[in-house]
Amino acid sequence: MWDETAPTSEILSYEIDQFTFSYRIGLFYDFCEKFKFALLIPPIFEYIFMETRTAPFETKADKAIIFWGEKSWQANTPELAIEFLPDRNLSAVTALGKENDRTFFHYGVKSTILNRFILAGGFDMKHDSERQITLGFGTYIGGFNGFYCFNFNEKLHQITLSFSPLQERELIKLVELKQNYEDIFLYKLDYYRSNEFICATTQNLIDDNVSINLELSGEAIHRVNHSYTLSPGAIKQFRFNLPQVKGDNFHSPTYCQFRISAFSRGKQVLERSIPLSIRDIHQWNGELEDLVYYIKSDHHDILKVAQKLVQDLHLYGNAIQFAKTIFNDISQNFQYVNDPILNPIDFVQLPHETLIKKSGDCEDLSVLFCSLLGAIGIQTALVEIKYQGREDAHVFVLVNTGLNPENFDFMNDNPNRCIFRKNREGKFKAWIPVELTLVGESFDKAWNRAAEEYYRCAILKGGLAQAWVKIVEVF
């Protein structure tokens, strides 16, 4: 129940007329932002202190003060205090204990001024004696708290020194530091530019202006720096978008750092940093939705090749003919080559690079196929099958033929070779699946293989409903 990090405070009380002193140990528990509990434990070495007076006692938050009246340590029992903090500079405390078999209540209020000085007052109430009024003031010096108070009834001066070794006053609060991405994948740079990747919210807890500095730096990016001033009590949120990146081809991940720091009167009061890695443009995070970023139908090389491939087809050529022509070109001229085994994450080539290399794995060839079909206005989608019990996944392509179900001769064409998907008007159109890894094979074989796989995994085994088969549209 007790906060393990709660500080232990030693209190030395000094009485001017008797020169007696005492120490006590407190345990504190932050129940919530507005309430705190304190338990005061009597000293262990009782024989040292015959009769003394306790002194104002500071809680973890430096806001509660518990006044104790005259008491005998031998009669001490643990005392319980509850502190209420309606405001960060104001608190009210009530304490309950027993002293020489008499129930003892204390009520007090305390105010913190400029986060450095304390003003406090309170009265004690015992069931068979008058109320005793006490007033005091003090100050914070580092982890120490010095306090003087005067008991009006007994004309008693008290000087208290308390120390909380684990207690560190918070001057600025980092309300939120949200990092949306751990890695920056350069293939989706445009996405990062329009969606913030770091969000920092700060709150000034002191009665003085605090300047906040946010910086993003690293060898691969152009350094960005933002500064602003927070007035006392103010909260501000700052969103960071990705700045300009120097190049897109890093052979190994390069790192940059986001750093937030705060200064008050020239002294640093907060510093926090987050390292971020920037991934090469060919490194893909493995999410099918992201593979779409590699499809570049508007790249001039892709446009040129696609239009050249279909230029000889007759006027009424349909999407199946175009898909077949493009597939045949890939099948005859390209090689299937796996990713390098050393690569820790998937490696995907840009389609114009695959055109030059004439090789690639299922993602590379699917990306190229979609890019080429997109370049001549044919809609495609990507299908991913994550085989159960296996770590790897497989990708193939769906091509929108634009044909209605009525166009098919179902007596002679197996409808399971097509996937009938609705368009936005709710009309069914036939899409055909194509397996791009079957380079060197015929289009029909690539179509059949993908259709068989789709029907078996996506429908018969319910893969789409269980989400181990996914379809992602290419736009």
Binding site: Y316, F410, M411, N414, R417, R421, K422, R424, G463, L464
Partner: protein, 220 residues
Amino acid sequence: MRLIIVFMICSLALANENEFKIIEREGEIFIRHGIENDWRIYQASEMLKENDWIQSGANSSAKIERHDGKIFILPENTIIEGMELKNYTSSELLLILTSIEISNIPPQKGKPIAPSGAYIIHGNRPTDSATIDSVEVNQYLEYEMNGLDALCEQSFWAGVILKIFKLKKFEKMLDHESLEYNLLVAYNKMNLVRRFNEAKERFIKKYPNSEYIEQINGLR
């Protein structure tokens, strides 16, 4: 000893719940495996799987035995797919239905599905070819509808649902009222309560004067 081994192999083969066997036939029965296009004449003792197709011609019929011993009689001029004869639990069936529905979902990102852009490149659009091959489509639909009737009559309710899902793409060419009524009955028999209630609500809204309403209200 040899006989015992043969018996064991046959038992294992029949135990596969994805397999079916034609135990009796009259006339010619055609099959096509998986995603093959071509129909071929069924050879005796050939095992059929859930993704195989079975077709009977005029004056032909067949008795198909499921792994659990249940018999389906394939009447003449009928097409049946293996998966329509399978024995499903409600949750297995729901998984397949949901997968079919997900598969049907139109592209979501706001761009319309353009008819294949090739037409745009050539500055021309194809004529509406809905009537092309309509004879073949009609014949196919007739065979499928015969299959649906047989499934209903012989209480293969999961098959009824799957068949209707398959036929839904021929929106203009089918009597939707009777299809949807059959679907309701099948949902009811398969104990797919939520789907039944939703389909019932849709049906009453769409066909308030239907002769089936009384029968539908009597279903639950």
